[in-house]
């Protein structure tokens, strides 16, 4: 296998994922409208909730809208990752992934290329949302929009890998709703996306602990700090480690020789 083969495969996967994104206008619109609704309606009701304590990376009092934006960026990446893994289930059953996974290239490479392509497809949407959020007076420093890029990439990869891992457990499309309820919703709510850690621990200490061990929390915090030109090493390390673990497990799970696929046949598990 030469580098040319790798390149061709990666380019093919990337082209396909980008094409798919731009062809699905409804999905595009939904991906943008969802966080805007949260910002415009949900956050409006909580305007005065914060502003009682200053927490890093903020250097002064912030409105709830300002606080919630990095969490909503995390939500966009999370939903995009989950929808991509949903389409992964579909592709595996009857689409291109079926053909692709038998290509004579290492499985980790094929899955990784798809993961990267999906993440890169989601990032422009995040930027559109961040610029729209300026209308709600969420105005991070301009260099923050540059600094946030690597954070978005890493967070997107981590969540994508998580989705990939989940999709390996799901035999049929129908089962994905369960995954949404039992993985995505708790992951989003039991994190610092909507409330800072000090408020979660006010509400209930165990919830704060869940949030501390929730990889989504670290992805959101990494994004939040990057947006304000700060590097949060703990969040970066936790997100990177989670990404590696999820991706490693996903590659294993997709290996027909060893992973979950071998145990599927004939009936498989659902």
């Amino acid at each position: 296998m030469s580098a040319r083969h790798y390149r061709r495969a990666a380019a093919g996967i990337a082209r396909r994922e980008l094409l798919r994104m731009f062809k699905q206008k409804g999905r595009l619109a939904a991906a943008l409208v969802r966080p805007l609704i949260w910002l415009a309606i949900f956050a409006a009701g909580f305007r005065t909730v914060l502003g009682l304590s200053i927490m890093p990376p903020y250097q002064t009092y912030v409105l709830y809208e300002v606080y919630i934006v990095p969490g909503l960026v995390g939500m966009m990446l999370l939903f995009y990752a989950m929808q991509s893994s949903l389409s992964m289930v579909y592709d595996r059953e009857m689409g291109s992934m079926r053909t692709l996974l038998v290509a004579p290239l290492p499985r980790w490479f094929l899955l990784g290329a798809r993961l990267l392509a999906n993440t890169l497809a989601a990032i422009p949407l995040v930027y559109v949302f961040l610029f729209a959020a300026r209308l709600w007076e969420v105005r991070p420093p301009w260099p923050g929009y540059v600094a946030i890029f690597p954070a978005l990439l890493l967070a997107g990869l981590m969540l994508g890998a998580f989705g990939l891992l989940l999709s390996s457990f799901v035999r049929q499309l129908e089962n994905f709703a369960g995954v949404m309820n039992f993985a995505i919703v708790p992951m989003f709510f039991a994190s610092t996306a909507l409330y800072p850690l000090w408020r979660l621990s006010d509400a209930s200490p165990w919830l704060a602990w869940v949030a501390v061990f929730n990889p989504f929390t670290h992805a959101v915090e990494m994004i939040r700090f990057a947006l304000y030109l700060r590097l949060e090493p703990a969040a970066l390390a936790m997100t990177a480690a989670s990404a590696l673990v999820f991706f490693g497990l996903a590659v294993l799970a997709y290996d027909p020789g060893r992973g979950l696929w071998s145990r599927r046949e004939p009936g498989g598990f659902t």
Binding site: A44, R47, T48, G51, L52, I54, Q59, T60, Y61, V62, L63, R139, P141, P143, V146, A147, P150, A151, L154, M222, A226, L229, L231, L236
Partner: protein, 319 residues
């Protein structure tokens, strides 16, 4: 991410505006003055003064700071080079706010408990005049030409116009309830008086001695009763700033149209405010949260809140 860090630092340095000024804040419950460096935006000194420091002002040569220490019934004089109290002036009982007259020789001090304004000669350290005003005088302002001093009395709800040479009350204007602070516009044609309980600012014509307009504040999501107007600062660019107490906001007002341009989120119970010399920044003393919020007026956003002592009250900027 790691690779971005040096770039981020470089950009952050570019973004940080430099201002070679010092901000002084009186901490009412700590009996101290905090000095904040305008460049690093951190507290560089804490100067012990008398009990219950509230109103503060710079001497005309900007080398000394006058601090009204209400519970000690005097005005402490802080030398800004050595950062020590070097002198004290008699002020009459319970001084709260005062103004330095443009002639640089006299202070006009509101004595809250005695319904008096005392005229204090700095050189001789003597009270050379007393003016009977309404109950609980607090807000003090002097016209740019030095002819008029305005004192507001909290309980009487009046702005008293005092002739600065004869020490006589020449006019009284009824304003909204509990007037806290007064400030002349830079052209000297108007006096703005804030009302704590009504949450308004009365704009009084200096010639007519009548209320030209009343500025009202309504902040989305903030209950009406929390909007309590206190400190006022006038810029020379036609914009004015009003601290809104427990609403935790500072309003930016167009001087001519009296339209509210925007609200800045600051700390709890913002009391007095001060512009930097270049008028690119506004410093707000937040009594409830014990910090000073720095507002970047060019970027139009609060950039930092700096913890100082307990109950920060008055604030001034010095070169």
């Amino acid at each position: 991410m790691q690779a971005v860090t040096p770039l981020v630092f470089a950009l952050a340095l570019l973004a940080a505006p430099a201002a070679a000024e010092t901000v002084y804040v009186s901490n009412e419950q700590d009996n101290t003055i905090s000095a904040i460096d305008g460049e690093t935006l951190s507290v560089t000194a804490t100067i012990p003064v008398g009990r219950r420091p509230r109103g503060i002002a710079l001497s005309p040569d900007k080398r000394r700071l006058f601090v009204a220490v209400g519970d000690d019934n005097r005005i402490d004089v802080v030398d800004l080079a050595s950062r020590k109290v070097v002198d004290a002036l008699p002020s009459g009982e319970d001084p709260e706010l005062f103004v330095v007259h443009p002639d640089g020789k006299r202070l006009f001090v509101a004595n809250e408990n005695d319904s008096l304004v005392s005229v204090l000669e700095i050189e001789s350290k003597k009270v050379i005049g007393e003016i009977q005003v309404g109950v609980e005088p607090e807000g003090m302002a002097v016209s740019p030409d030095g002819q008029l001093v305005v004192c507001t009395s909290e309980t009487t709800s009046m702005a008293h116009f005092v002739d600065a040479s004869t020490y006589e009350v020449v006019d009284n204007v009824l304003v909204d309830t509990r007037p806290r602070a007064a400030a002349f516009t830079p052209d000297g044609k108007q006096v703005w008086v804030s009302s704590e309980l009504r949450g308004t600012v009365s704009v009084i014509g200096v010639q007519s001695r009548a209320i030209d307009a009343i500025v009202e504040f309504a902040i989305p999501g903030v209950p009406r009763e929390l909007v309590q107007a206190v400190g006022i600062a006038h810029g020379h660019d036609g914009r004015a700033y009003v601290a809104l107490g427990p609403a935790n906001r500072v309003a930016e007002v167009d001087n001519k149209s009296l339209k509210i341009l925007r609200y800045y989120l600051v700390g709890q119970r913002v009391w007095h405010i001060a512009l930097s010399a270049d008028e690119k920044r506004l410093y707000a003393a937040n009594g409830g949260s014990g910090d000073v919020t720095v507002i970047d007026l060019e970027r139009r956003e609060p950039v930092k809140s700096i913890a100082v002592g307990r109950s920060p009250w008055g604030v001034v900027t010095a070169p």
